[in-house]
Amino acid sequence: MFVNIREIQIEKYDVIVAGSGLAAYALVKRLARGGKSALILESGMLEYDGTLQEDFTTMFGRGHFDAQYWPLHWGRMLGGTSAFWAGWCTPLTERNFRDWPISRKDLDPYYLLAAGYLRRTDAFLTYDKPFVPGFDYRPLSAEPALNLNSEPDLLEELSLADIALTTTLKELHPSDDRRSIDAISIYTPDGPDMLVKLREGQTVVLAAGGVGNAQILLSSSSESGQAVGNEEDQVGRYLMEHPHFYNCARILASADHILPKLPEDFGIAIPAVAPDDALYDQLGSIDLSIELLDSDVDLDDPVERFLVGNFTTPPIAYELNVRSEMPPEAENRLKVAEGHDPAGLRRLRAICYIGTDTFRAVDSALEFLSDTLVEAGPSRLAIRNEEIARNVTGGGHTMGTTRMGDSPRTSVVDRDCRVHGYGNLFVAGSSVFTSGGYANPTLTLMALAARLGDKISGTS
């Protein structure tokens, strides 16, 4: 239920969670299964508020994803960014875990749980069919998006959990030996900041979004100057998005290239193909997905008009959207910048550029697909350079800023999502992704959060 932070006994909760988005939702559901209670601190309100949104999320930045970009993809309200997401889901595949300390197998049971939380059958988790040489048909699941803001009961009625709205986790206070978090500071707009001593066994989980998780750590430096979890200067680094190239190519196809029929239980799907393992290797192990969306033959395009004559039956047309991986780079990062938000958290600066390898992988994959079509018959592909080189955008997928790894030198959390060195501090969300594949992140971040719930409650 909803509680007022100033009227409750905070020490009675086993876990204190910052953020009430889909990461927190999956986490708290599993915590309850393991008998652990949770207090969710949510800095937003029940309803979306434009001023609050802007006051809390304003930041600085440059690059392909700049200062305007990140705040538009980080919702400040009950349910967080779930109020805006599109609901497209697909799991990371085995190859995407190459640099992670865990594998797809570790997440398999949790992918099932996450699919269930999102009210989907599990058909899309494993569906995969050869399409043309080099590419497998791997459609995305696009069932209606679970929006925790428009269904507040889902959060309010979570068992063993309470939610404090307009309540912001503003700082973590480490113990002298930096082996745990001793206390936290909490901001609400209606009173002085609260300093809350944690009791023995109390755990903190950051589930404040891909920017928010790093922000809380980077803002927790009052005592020593060295921010919590940032002992090796890793927090905020490896910032990643999924570069999206909308309408960057087009296919005129014969009946040979009609897409496979999906099983009934797949539900609503976005038709898409992904490179098979051999092609993926050749693309420099940069993963990507090419959506093939139904379109009409464009007789105003002279080439298309000309090509139509090559088909024995009327061709079908597809518009192509590509979503690619962006390899983790330490210099793509969030850093503390000038000023503070209303709670006193540091404002951040994002520097985030997409590298040449990513653009080249997209171009090469499209060219490869074209060669394949040419060899097979009359189907042809057009590449729109402008859309690849200049109109790239993101998907609202903020990843990598509290990266998972075995070594504290190159990561922030360990394979259990625990901040290296700190016994009672964990992170839930796409900020823990070691690399991003091309898969929309939410299903995976929910699977990781559910797994974290089991880890914390000792049931896994």
């Binding site: 508020d49 434009g50 001023t51 949104q53 802007e54 538009l72 993809h73 109020a83 805006f84 599109a86 069919k129 043309v132 040489p133 080099g134 048909y137 696009a142 190519a249 087009r250 040979d256 290239h257 897409l259 496979p260 029929k261 999906l262 799907a269 976005i270 038709p271 051999a278 092609l279 050749q282 693309l283 959506e291 969306l293 139904d294 007789l299 105003d300 002279p302 080439v303 298309e304 008009r305 000309f306 090509l307 004559g309 959207n321 040449t356 080249r360 090469s364 060219e367 490869f368 074209s370 060669d371 394949t372 040419v374 060899e375 097979a376 018959g377 042809r380 057009a382 590449i383 955008t393």
Partner: protein
Amino acid sequence: MKKAPLSRRDLLLGFTGIAVGGAVATAVGLTFRSQIKKLVGLPGTPQDRTLPTYDDGWLLTEQEWAAFQDADTAVTSDILEVRDNVDIPGGDYDELKVSSVQECVTACEQDSSCKAFTYARASHSDSGKRRACWLKSGSTGTPVTGDSRYVSGRRDGW
């Protein structure tokens, strides 16, 4: 001046529509190995292009490319006097999208009110004009010669 706070709509920007896939696939018997060879060394090395690229981005075979360009070659007509590299300004009463000069010539031949035509080649710098065919009435402007983007013709001589 403070700008308006972010609206819900602002945050939804970037969200794209949902399409549903379907239908039946046919397996394509292709040799994947031969394809792979072409791409060895990626990424980082400029690859050997196997196909000429039209600047609109369609990746055509050499034969298709040649055939496509052929369709821009001026043709002769019994009814119209066709001239290469000429633009006739004004007098348009209809604009068609055609796939060859021939198609434009035929359209003008078959319409007795068509006194002249101008055709824009597929290589025209303005992509909106490529393979456009303007049918013209009698009252046209002075023809502009030496413009390789166009082919024109007149019913009653030049």
